[in-house]
């Protein structure tokens, strides 16, 4: 193969640049993009602010109902009423996987920062074993990135200094005061002020013994959401551009950078890959849906298990806008 380098070198020298002003063109290109993104980021910031206000409003109205019957209940997240908390506790006691993490103080604080504050790169402060075994109230801190993580083409993640925030969170086992009791957030502040919080994405809290969550949520999913997801996965399986067109900016960036192993087009049905919607759950008090896809294949890009899962957040990015995939992540 000694000839190979020479042959490649000879051919590589045929590359012709467009001119001597390449560096200036590069700077122009970067500055144009910078200006365009400033406009876009303004629009995104406005949309996020509106969404945050709506979420806060929904939470406040939900909380008001609680006060009618149980004025002493102080939980603000994820369960906003004593009834919800009692049902959640019962389900956790039965081993419901979607709720057992609430029995872990650290886990709840972490979930709170991710799902209520919509922070990324979340790092809760360590909680001592003695505190974790108690019932609270326990006040701790969690740091995270308020503007999402950086998605580059090279999977490099970071948070600008001005987007790094710390929240002070107080949690307590409000329903069952023993190591099996679920922790519930009773107060939270960022820089001394109450943050805008998004409602819990946890599944609806039915009574134990009621029909399982899959049956209930399946019935509640609007047909247009299911149809949207079906069309999205079909487009990916067939590698058509329709799939890309259904992605909001953040999801597009995640797929584009292969964040966490995300791939938009690598799982073709022609290669024997099968797709299915594992679950669809509506997020309480929102018009958004958490969709888990199960993708199964063998060899190629698949891990040894042959099965991967993706979690998508589906919803309208703005008033009246068509559904989009807002965020995407590999869950295993």
């Amino acid at each position: 193969m000694t000839d190979l380098h020479d042959v490649l070198d000879r051919k590589a020298r045929q590359f012709r640049t467009s001119g001597d002003d390449g560096f200036e063109k590069l700077i122009d290109r970067a500055e144009r993009r910078h200006r365009r993104r400033r406009v876009t980021s303004g629009v995104v910031a406005l949309a996020v602010a509106v969404a945050g206000s709506l979420g806060a409003y929904a939470m406040l109205t939900g909380g008001a109902k609680t006060d009618l019957g149980t004025s002493t209940y102080s939980g603000i997240w994820p369960q906003t009423t004593i009834e919800e908390a009692q049902i959640a506790q019962a389900r956790a006691n039965q081993g419901d996987d979607s709720l057992t993490h609430q029995q872990d103080a650290y886990g709840l604080v972490q979930t709170f920062a991710k799902d209520a504050l919509w922070w990324t790169n979340v790092r809760p402060a360590l909680i001592s074993a003695a505190e974790a075994a108690g019932n609270g109230p326990l006040t701790t801190t969690v740091t995270g990135c308020t503007e999402g993580q950086m998605n580059t083409e090279t999977d490099v993640l970071f948070c600008p200094d001005d987007a790094l925030q710390t929240a002070e969170v107080t949690i307590e086992r409000l329903v069952q005061r023993d190591p099996k009791g679920i922790w519930i957030v009773t107060a939270a502040s960022v820089n001394g002020a109450q943050p805008s919080m998004h409602p819990s994405p946890m599944p609806p809290t039915e009574s134990p013994g009621a029909p399982g969550p899959e049956d209930t949520t399946a019935a509640a999913v609007p047909s247009n959401v299911e149809a949207f997801v079906e069309a999205f996965i079909q487009a990916r399986a067939e590698e058509t551009l329709y799939a890309e067109e259904q992605l909001a900016w953040e999801a597009l960036a995640a797929y584009d950078s292969n964040e966490g192993g995300l791939e938009l087009y690598d799982y073709e049905s022609d290669d024997g890959v099968s797709w299915e919607i594992a679950t669809i759950e509506g997020l309480p008090n929102t018009d958004r849906w958490r969709v888990v896809l199960r993708i199964e294949g063998q060899g190629g890009d698949f891990p040894d298990s042959g099965v991967i899962h993706e979690a998508l957040l589906v919803g309208s990015p703005g008033d009246g806008a068509p559904l989009k995939v807002l965020t995407a992540e590999r869950t295993e």
């Binding site: 190979l4 042959v7 490649l8 590589a12 045929q14 700077i27 993104r37 948070c159 953040e250």
Partner: protein, 174 residues
Amino acid sequence: MIEPATLEHVTEEPAETAADFREFYEAQHERLGRSLYLLTRSSHEAEELAQEALVRVYERWDRVRTMDSPVGYLYRTAMNLNRNRLRRLSVAARRLVTHAAPASDLDDVEERDGILSTLKFLPIGQRQAVVLVDWLGMDAEEAGRILGLKAVSVRVRLSRAHAALREALEANDD
């Protein structure tokens, strides 16, 4: 999002940082362009991809410059961009009922050269490994970091590529 703030930070860096990036640009632009030319077989595509990769590095220069291998970062970005380009081309091609093969700078030169004519039919993964290792002189570990692969996978790709090229050379000799 984060990127504008990042760029703002970069563009407000002192003059020596801008000079620092210019130095990086001068050292890498042509070599990167040539590498991409070997992958895309088109000067225009190679120039476009090289520019885009360098813009992305420029936007994050304050962080990239402190990395162990800014060059590795640049090449990984460029390889990902090329992979995305191929996907889009593939998707677009599937949408057409009939389409002509895209013209390329290399199609009309030295088709008799066994290595080159074989190189262009290698899978893109093997071609990337050949360019990074055989032409740029990287080792399998470094190429693996850029391609997001284990070094052993790079060696497997290289081995397959070399077998195909060796066969082409022998056929050419005959």
